[in-house]
């Protein structure tokens, strides 16, 4: 390449890189730095506080993310298999809708639907399934958060898994059908094994985004422990101005995300 072309490439790359490096990479590093400082001194006290106060919240977040991921994958694998074998455009379109609905709106909608005096209980009480004097609360607990995350992420999962299934050649499925394979066998023995890599990438993305979800637990969380980790970070900053502990919690969440990212990198490098 000529020098002038090289220079042009550099100039073109600089502004977007600068924004991401300045407002994401640098703050990312500074959160590792601040997590090791306490009153201006190097210290591990922040991490000790995380262990003492938040270890159950970390487990709670992991549990919600894993549970939601398992449900989303379970539904998406078979739903997409059905949509791949019998094309059904209207249903496919319906499942794309949550992709374009913001997380805060999902949080609010589920809050209105699942609260003790929410729409779901009102409907169920009409047919006598729940008692009006003591309505059960689904929102304000882990199930409410999980339901919201599943609803929102199902759309992404359907998009990605269906994309992977569509790239499996039709002849494989035809061959299987000729040998009398049912829809279930076609999914289990052909579609699923042939799109394992794409499924792994999709799972890694969804797991991190669920673990890092903030607006959903903020909208339908109970305000009492156990809380999801991101809520702890926010409260630590907002109510206690304790940047040290908040950043230590942040670093723990990066490490969890990194473990997932490592798995993701291994999968994509294996493929190429």
């Amino acid at each position: 390449m000529k020098l002038s072309v090289r220079l042009a490439c550099l100039i073109v790359a600089l502004p977007p890189l600068a924004i991401v490096l300045w407002l994401f990479f640098l703050p990312f590093l500074s959160s590792a730095h601040l997590s090791l400082l306490r009153e201006g001194q190097w210290s591990l006290r922040n991490y000790w506080l995380v262990w003492r106060l938040y270890r159950y919240d970390i487990l709670y977040s992991l549990w919600i993310a894993l549970f939601s991921l398992a449900v989303v994958l379970g539904i998406a694998i078979f739903l997409c298999g059905y949509l791949r074998i019998h094309a059904n455009r209207p249903v496919e379109f319906l499942f794309k809708i949550p992709l374009f609905i913001p997380f805060v709106v999902v949080g609010h909608a589920m809050r209105v639907l699942l609260a003790p005096r929410g729409t779901l209980n009102a409907v169920l009480s009409q047919i006598g399934l729940v008692s009006m004097s003591d309505p059960p609360s689904i929102a304000f607990g882990w199930i409410g958060i999980a339901v919201s995350l599943i609803w929102k992420n199902l759309a992404l999962a359907v998009l990605l898994v269906l994309g992977a299934y569509r790239s499996v050649d039709e002849t494989f499925l035809e061959a299987a059908r000729n040998f009398g394979a049912s829809a279930f066998r076609q999914i289990k023995d052909i579609l699923l094994p042939m799109s394992r890599a794409s499924l792994a990438v999709a799972s890694a993305f969804m797991f991190t985004s669920m673990l890092a979800s903030f607006s959903v637990p903020l909208m339908i969380g109970s305000g009492e422990p156990p809380q999801m980790v991101m809520i702890d970070v926010f409260y630590r900053i907002n109510y206690q101005q304790d940047y040290g502990t908040a950043n230590a919690l942040g670093v723990v969440s990066y490490l969890l995300a990194m473990a997932v990212a490592g798995y993701y990198l291994r999968t994509i490098t294996k493929r190429t």
Partner: protein, 264 residues
Amino acid sequence: MMRPTLRMAGFVVAALIIFGPLSSLVIWSFAEKWYWPHLFPQQLGFLYWAKVFQGDMLRALQDGLVIAVVVTALTLVITVPLAYVLARMPIPLKPVILMVFLLPQAFPQLPVFVNSMTLLYRVNLGGKLGGVILIHMVGALVFAVWTMTAVFKSVPETLEEAAINLGASRLKTFWSVSLPLATPGIVASTLLVFLYSLDEFTGTLLVGSPFVLTLPVYMYRTSVGYELQVASVSALLLMVPGIVLLVMLERYMKSEYLSMFGRI
């Protein structure tokens, strides 16, 4: 051989799953009086919809739109050239550059943005429109860079080579061959960026509060404050651009733009 009744049943179940949670928003937005445990509100009306055109909600709507337009324009201008370079030029460290633009999606944003907030306050951009625009661009660039690089890669290289062989410069080729061919994909990517900025919550809450208010943050405050009708109206307003976009993208968006995501 799917029986039509079974197909219909599948559609109804899917519609219930998708629209069930959203339907209570619609009812709530029109409910002027609704006492538990009645199935429907006692009094319906447009009282809360009228609030859209006044006070804080109107301000939130306007600010959110201004921010989204500026974010989209700036992101478009700085990403199109970079995406072309990433798709076509043999530049060094290309995988590293692409990975940098994956970071804001690969790591939890909130704990990072807490520190970005400190940095923005240091240069006097905290609590201002400028700061919110910058923090939106961090996330917007991820979508823009990855999708637009895929778009330029999908333009047939032979057409560009033909133009160069006929004596056109790189720049001329870019303007009159690559850019026009990439336009539908760029439109799709631009719409995604616009939607991302309209819906952004975490960064706006941290960097903008309490001075810059966009619709998602306004909705969060009213919902948590149990102003359920106002929150439901805002929620429905927030859904409109997404649904419009979904219908438009069905025409523009090719699945290969999205399937490129995250592959080096």
